[in-house]
Amino acid sequence: MEWTALSVSLRLAGLTCLLLLPAGLWLGRALALSRFRGRALCEALVALPLVMPPTVLGFYLMQAFGEQAPFGAAWQSLTGGGLNFTFTGILLASLVANLPFAVQPIQRAFETIPPNLREAAWCSGLSPAQTLLRIELPLVWPGLVSALALTFAHTLGEFGVILMVGGAIDGETRTLAIAIYDRVQAFDESGAAVMSAMLLLVSFLTIGVVYGLAGRRRWRRG
C-alpha cells in the first residue's frame, strides 16, 4: 500500500471539491437563472471536459502550462513557479476536468426552483442573500451533494490528465491511480489489488456518507 500516493489522491480530491463547490454554486445558479445571450455557449464550454478524452485535455493543459505558453508565462511571473510536474498543476487540471461534474447537478437543482418562490421570499422581506441561504440552498442541497460526490470520486480515479501533466513524482503528482498502473506494469498484481481495493473502498465510503446525509435530509423533510 502506497500511503503517499493515497494521500496525494485524497488531498487532490479534497481540494478540488473545496475549490469547485463555490465556483459550481455560482456558475450553476447563474446558468439556471439568467437568460443572457451566449448562455448556450457557456453551457457547452462547461460541458466540454465531459466529452473530451482526458488525454486530449491533458495534452492541451500541458501545452498551456509550459513556461513558453502565455498562460504558463503569466503564472510563472505571478507565482515564480511552473505548473507542469507540480501538485498545483494537477490541481488546476483537476479543476478543469471536474467543472461539469460540479456545475451540472447544481444547475439542474436550481432549475427546479419555481421563480415565484424566490419572488415570494423577496416580498416577505428577505434579502437576496437571505433568500439564497434560507430558501434556495435547502432546496438545492441534493444537487450540491451529487456535485460533491461526483467531483470527489471522479478526481480519485482521474488518470489520463494527471499522467500527461504530472510526471509521477512521489508525494507530489503520483496519485493512487497512477501508482496502481505502475504496480500492474511491474507485474505486482497483489500490490495493485490492495491499492485498487483501497481506492474502491474510499470511493464507496465517500458516496455512501454523502448520499446517506442527503437521504436523511430528504427523509426528514418528506
Partner: protein, 270 residues
C-alpha cells in the same frame, strides 16, 4: 440505430477475430522503436512485404496483453525478460532472437545550458542538482519509470553509478514509457532526460533537442529481444525473418541500435 450499432459491433468482432493468415502482420513494438520501426516497415513493404499493423507501447504492457491473449503475432520488446517470461508461460513460439542492443542518451532542449561532453555525460544532471540546491528553481530530470521500463532501469543504473540517484530525487519526473520520458525531457520545466538513443536520433526531435550518448559501461546492456506467437501468420513470419537480415540491421544502426553480439540463445528452460 441499435441495428446499426449491432451491425458495427458484429463487423468489428469479425474483423478482430479474423485469422492471422488473412491480413497484415500485427506487431507489438516497444516505444524505443517508435521512429526506427516505420523506416523498417517502409523498406519491408518496398520489397513486397505484406502490410504491417503496428502498436507502440511499454514492453511490460505488451507482455501482459499477450499473456491475456491479445492478437499480436510478433513482439519486439525493449528487453529480454518480457520475451523469455512469455515464452516460459507458453505464449510465444520460442525464445526468439536479440535483434538489437539499445543505448542510453542524455537529451535536452536545444539551448538549455551547456551540452555535457561524452566523457562526463551526466554533467547536466549535476548542474541541475547544484542549481536546485542554490535555490534557482527546480530543473527537472526525466526518465522512464525504472519500476518496469527497461530504459528506465538503465537510466537508474547510470545515475546510481555516478552517485546521483539520491541527489536527483527532488528533480526526477517519470515517463510511463521511454517516449513519454523523452517528451518530458523537452518540456519547458526540464533540464533534460535519460532516454533511448534511438529517440534522441529521431528526425521528429530535429532542431528542438540536442543529445550526448551515455557510454555503454554505465548500465547493464539493453539487449532487445523479439519473438513470434505460436500461431503467427505468414506475413508476421516473413517480417520476423526480414528483421534479422542485413538491411534491417543497417536501418537499426542508423537509429542508434547496435547489432546483437553473437551469443547462444538461452535454453528454453532458463
Amino acid at each position: 440505430m441499435t441495428a446499426v450499432l449491432r451491425l458495427a459491433l458484429a463487423a468489428w468482432l469479425l474483423a478482430s477475430a479474423a485469422p492471422a493468415l488473412a491480413g497484415p502482420a500485427t506487431v507489438a513494438v516497444a516505444s524505443s522503436l517508435q521512429f526506427a520501426f516505420p523506416a523498417l516497415v517502409e523498406r519491408f513493404r518496398a520489397q513486397g512485404g505484406a502490410p504491417v499493423r503496428v502498436n507502440y507501447g511499454a514492453s511490460g504492457n505488451f507482455r501482459r496483453q499477450i499473456a491475456q491473449g491479445a492478437p499480436f503475432e510478433l513482439f519486439l520488446s525493449a528487453d529480454e525478460q518480457s520475451v523469455l517470461a512469455l515464452h516460459q508461460a507458453g505464449h510465444l513460439a520460442d525464445t526468439g532472437v536479440v535483434y538489437a542492443v539499445g543505448r542510453l542518451a542524455w537529451i535536452q532542449p536545444a539551448g538549455r545550458g551547456a551540452l555535457p561532453s561524452e566523457s562526463a555525460p551526466l554533467a547536466a544532471v549535476e548542474a541541475a542538482i547544484a542549481d536546485h540546491r542554490a535555490g534557482e528553481g527546480r530543473p527537472r530530470v526525466a526518465l522512464a519509470n525504472p519500476e518496469h521500463a527497461p530504459y528506465g532501469i538503465a537510466a537508474r543504473q547510470a545515475l546510481e553509478q555516478a552517485g546521483l540517484w539520491a541527489a536527483s530525487a527532488p528533480l526526477r519526473v517519470m515517463g510511463e514509457n521511454v517516449s513519454q520520458a523523452a517528451r518530458f525531457a523537452l518540456a519547458d520545466e526540464a533540464r533534460g532526460g535519460l532516454v533511448a538513443y534511438s529517440l534522441a536520433l529521431a528526425p521528429a526531435l530535429g532542431e528542438r533537442a540536442e543529445h550526448v550518448l551515455i557510454p555503454a559501461d554505465r548500465h547493464a546492456p539493453l539487449r532487445q529481444r523479439m519473438a513470434l506467437v505460436p500461431d503467427a501468420g505468414e506475413a508476421a513470419r516473413a517480417l520476423y525473418a526480414w528483421l534479422q537480415g542485413e538491411e534491417a540491421r543497417a536501418i537499426l544502426a542508423r537509429f542508434g541500435f547496435q547489432p546483437p553480439s553473437p551469443s547462444p540463445t538461452p535454453a528454453s528452460g532458463a
